[in-house]
Symmetry: C2
Subunit: 254 residues, 2 copies
């Protein structure tokens, strides 16, 4: 096994392996080793120093090649332990045009799901919150942040803001924000979502256990009452490699 890898990493093979800078050749070689199964998911790579020696390049060059593969999510580094081939993450689909909760979604897919609260509190509204929720200066806003976890894997970070009029006590929310609102007689019937892609910043990446810069799905949702009044404003950041959204479209009048 390691013998295979050593032969693949030989300087001759590397030199033959296409064009471009050394670290690109090395990167491609490692990519191929993973793709062909020479390196299986979960396997440890040889230490950087060994790779450098095998391939007759400097450790800096090895690190640069590995850096890019880590950024791509193909490899995972563990300080003091080693570098490993990442386990692929199965994707999850979410059906759009239907307003369902994360918990319902996961249950329908037969996945266990739970949340960890990161924060619950009452605050003076930010300008964004005032605009979106239509708040005056004298009304506070309840903020709830949590980490969404499916099958023991962090999947999303969610920040919700609700007008204090609708939810005066955020600490009363046990598990489901919607359930608590329902209990208080607040029932949103419509929502608008904005979906975009963004590279993860350090803080979010750390919470979700993915490399900085990995693609994430950013979703902003505003829920409305039947009257048209905005109730809730939620910003979520999903792991791009683990979540899909599915939307069904119909021909619209131009």
């Amino acid at each position: 096994m390691t013998d295979d890898l050593a032969s693949i990493l030989s300087p001759e093979r590397l030199q033959a392996g296409g064009t471009g800078p050394l670290y690109v050749k090395l990167r491609r070689t490692l990519e191929e080793a993973v793709r062909t199964g020479t390196l299986a998911h979960g396997d440890a790579l040889p230490p950087e120093r060994d790779i450098a020696e095998f391939a007759a390049v400097s450790r800096v060059t090895v690190r640069k090649a590995i850096d890019e593969l880590v950024a791509d999510g193909l490899l995972v580094r563990r300080h003091g332990s080693g570098t490993f081939v990442a386990k692929p993450v199965s994707k999850v689909e979410q059906r759009l045009s239907q307003l369902t909760s994360f918990t319902e979604d996961m249950a329908r897919r037969g996945m266990s799901s739970r949340s960890e609260w990161l924060h619950k509190g009452i605050h003076t509204p930010s300008p964004d919150e005032m605009m979106i929720l239509g708040l005056g200066t004298d009304i506070k806003v309840s903020r709830l942040s949590r980490l969404r976890i499916a099958d023991d894997q962090p999947l999303a970070i969610e920040h919700a803001s609700v007008s204090g009029e609708f939810l005066p006590d955020p600490s009363a929310v046990a598990n489901s924000l919607y359930a608590e609102l329902e209990r208080l007689g607040v029932r949103p019937v419509r929502a608008v979502q904005r979906i975009s892609a963004t590279n993860m910043k350090e803080a979010d990446a750390q919470l979700l256990g993915v490399p900085v810069g990995q693609a994430g799905l950013s979703i902003e949702r505003i829920s409305y009452l039947g009257s048209g009044r905005a109730v809730e404003f939620t910003r979520s950041l999903y792991r791009g490699d683990a979540y899909d959204f599915v939307a069904e479209l119909t021909i619209g009048a131009t």
Copy 2:
């Protein structure tokens, strides 16, 4: 101006600037310089060697800090020329749950739009295409690839596959695939889209003029006839920093 920057980059300031490795401090310092306007959009950074000298660190350390900011899209490198503060890109929204063409979309937003064809051809269908379009082994598939450009900025890459039964001659498509299909009496009435986020690979990033690894919105769409037969299968990759999707949801029966 450069004086300001030099003082910010002084070793003392850098040392005082929080915790962590040198290159993180330097990265944060540069980030702040852009945020506060000390470095305006389009400005050139001092040469790496100068920064290294100012800050009393090695050039490798400077490069690592800049590398991360380039990966974030905050800075842009130009080989042989310098490193510059990237211009922010205004976002575009797309309304979901309505089947419109790219051209219509852009026109509605008052943006000029055009396409560059990358490829038009007839091929033996891939397994994916056979599955999705329901093709037999004896039927060819027309493939059309193009670069979508809005206001002279590449915005998306689009690969379309259409069964040869519906579109036997892809070279006949002038501008709008839908228009050509309409002319041939083929009118899809329904479509399903899958939206996900992914980090851009080298080839795509180059076409779109963004750094490798930047977040992109990947959209796969399958269009159906009224009969339920699949007509077209399109994979698009949008610049994540320049495109938003908006969806309107309603409460669904649980």
